[in-house]
């Protein structure tokens, strides 16, 4: 009751909360991250426009990963169809599709559900191929260790300037379809300049899934990200335990 004048009206009570609106998602993401880290699995969130070459990048990764002795796994999100997951499976990557219906992004709960009854723990590197979209996926933590944006040379050099939230959120930009550069008016120097204006520490790899250009650099980057996980596991790439929260994940590797 109003204590000021005794009028009997309800009192207005201000309650300070200061809570992230995505707190629920972030809680589930932390849970996913504990699973991934505990099982020694490097989880990579792969984002980019529709048609930027996310699936082709993963197909090219499968070809190189065999030589490294890595096992891969993936979940692949689309509004409709499981075409991408089928492509990945055909490339030798055990995959599951997540059909998001109307949702324009993956959230931590969708990823968590997809992990059930799926042998993700067998993977050394686990890709979460997000919905093709340069806007919404950027703000949803999924529990990944690293974020990658895939940007094709056909999309225009100023894409990073138009979508700063996405590019600022990623650890690496993979510039795809570089075999097309001679046929286009694209200036890669301009693209790198645009990245430097939205990312304080820009890192980019120029790649062509078709010719294999840049695939070695991409695999080396993955290996670098994997190092803390591999060390935590005690070197050999396989035979992950199932224990959660073993507490020796990659220190200080929280992103976004």
């Amino acid at each position: 009751m109003c204590q000021t004048c005794g009028c009997g009206d309800a009192a207005l009570v201000p309650v300070e909360l200061h809570e992230r609106i995505l707190a629920e998602n972030e809680k589930t993401a932390r849970h996913n991250r504990e699973h991934f880290v505990g099982a020694g699995v490097l989880a990579v969130n792969v984002m980019g426009s529709p048609g930027s070459g996310k699936t082709a990048l993963l197909e090219a990764t499968a070809r190189g990963a065999a030589a490294k002795g890595w096992r891969l796994g993936a979940v692949s999100a689309d509004l409709a169809t499981d075409h991408d997951a089928r492509r990945l499976a055909a490339a030798g990557i055990p995959s599951r599709s997540i059909t998001t219906g109307q949702a324009c992004h993956l959230d931590a709960e969708l990823v968590h559900r997809a992990l059930h009854d799926f042998p993700w723990r067998e993977a050394d590197v686990f890709f979460i191929e997000n919905v093709g979209n340069l806007v919404c996926p950027a703000i949803y933590d999924l529990g990944q260790a690293a974020n990658v944006a895939v940007l094709s040379v056909t999309e225009g050099e100023d894409k990073p300037l138009k979508y700063p939230v996405m590019f600022q959120a990623v650890d690496l930009v993979v510039v795809t379809k570089c075999d097309l550069v001679p046929h286009l008016d694209v200036d890669l120097a301009k693209l790198h300049d645009a990245l430097a204006r939205v990312m304080p520490a820009p890192r980019a790899i120029e790649l062509s899934a078709k010719t294999g250009q840049g695939v070695d650099a991409w695999l080396a980057w993955l290996e670098e990200q994997r190092a803390p996980f591999a060390a935590a596991e005690g070197a050999p790439a396989h035979g992950h335990g199932h224990g959660h929260g073993r507490g020796h994940g990659p220190g200080g590797h929280e992103h976004g």
């Binding site: 309800a10 909360l17 609106i21 304080p200």
Partner: protein
């Protein structure tokens, strides 16, 4: 458009708080939105208008507090102009972002408690 799902999460959080405190009405809520939060304030507001009908927030005012994104050098504190390369030309340090630039925060609810 993820603004709608954010608003749904926001409304259910506010309803919980109102219920917990025995409030009869939610009078207002205050939300902080950073320029790099990935949320478009206009879309956020229209999603709010659409979603709040019939909920515990039906009569609540939404107050948005917007936070600009400002990049600066962590060493010499020089502030970068919008569109600059995000590395300090003098110190060679990568730029750092101000607190709140990516905020997407429910700061306060104002409840009517009998």
């Amino acid at each position: 458009m993820h603004e709608y799902s954010l608003i749904q999460a926001l409304i259910s959080r506010v309803e919980d708080e109102a219920r917990r405190r025995g409030a009869t009405r939610v009078h207002a809520i205050r939300v902080r939105l950073g320029a790099l939060s990935g949320v478009e304030p206009d879309l956020f507001t229209s999603a709010w208008e659409l979603a709040r009908a019939g909920t515990g927030c039906a009569e609540a005012a939404l107050r948005l507090e917007r936070v600009e994104a400002v990049w600066s050098c962590p060493r010499c504190k020089k502030v970068f102009a919008p569109g600059d390369v995000l590395r300090c030309a003098d110190c060679r340090e990568p730029a750092a972002l101000n607190d709140g630039a990516d905020a997407l925060t429910l700061d306060q609810v104002e409840l009517e408690v009998p």
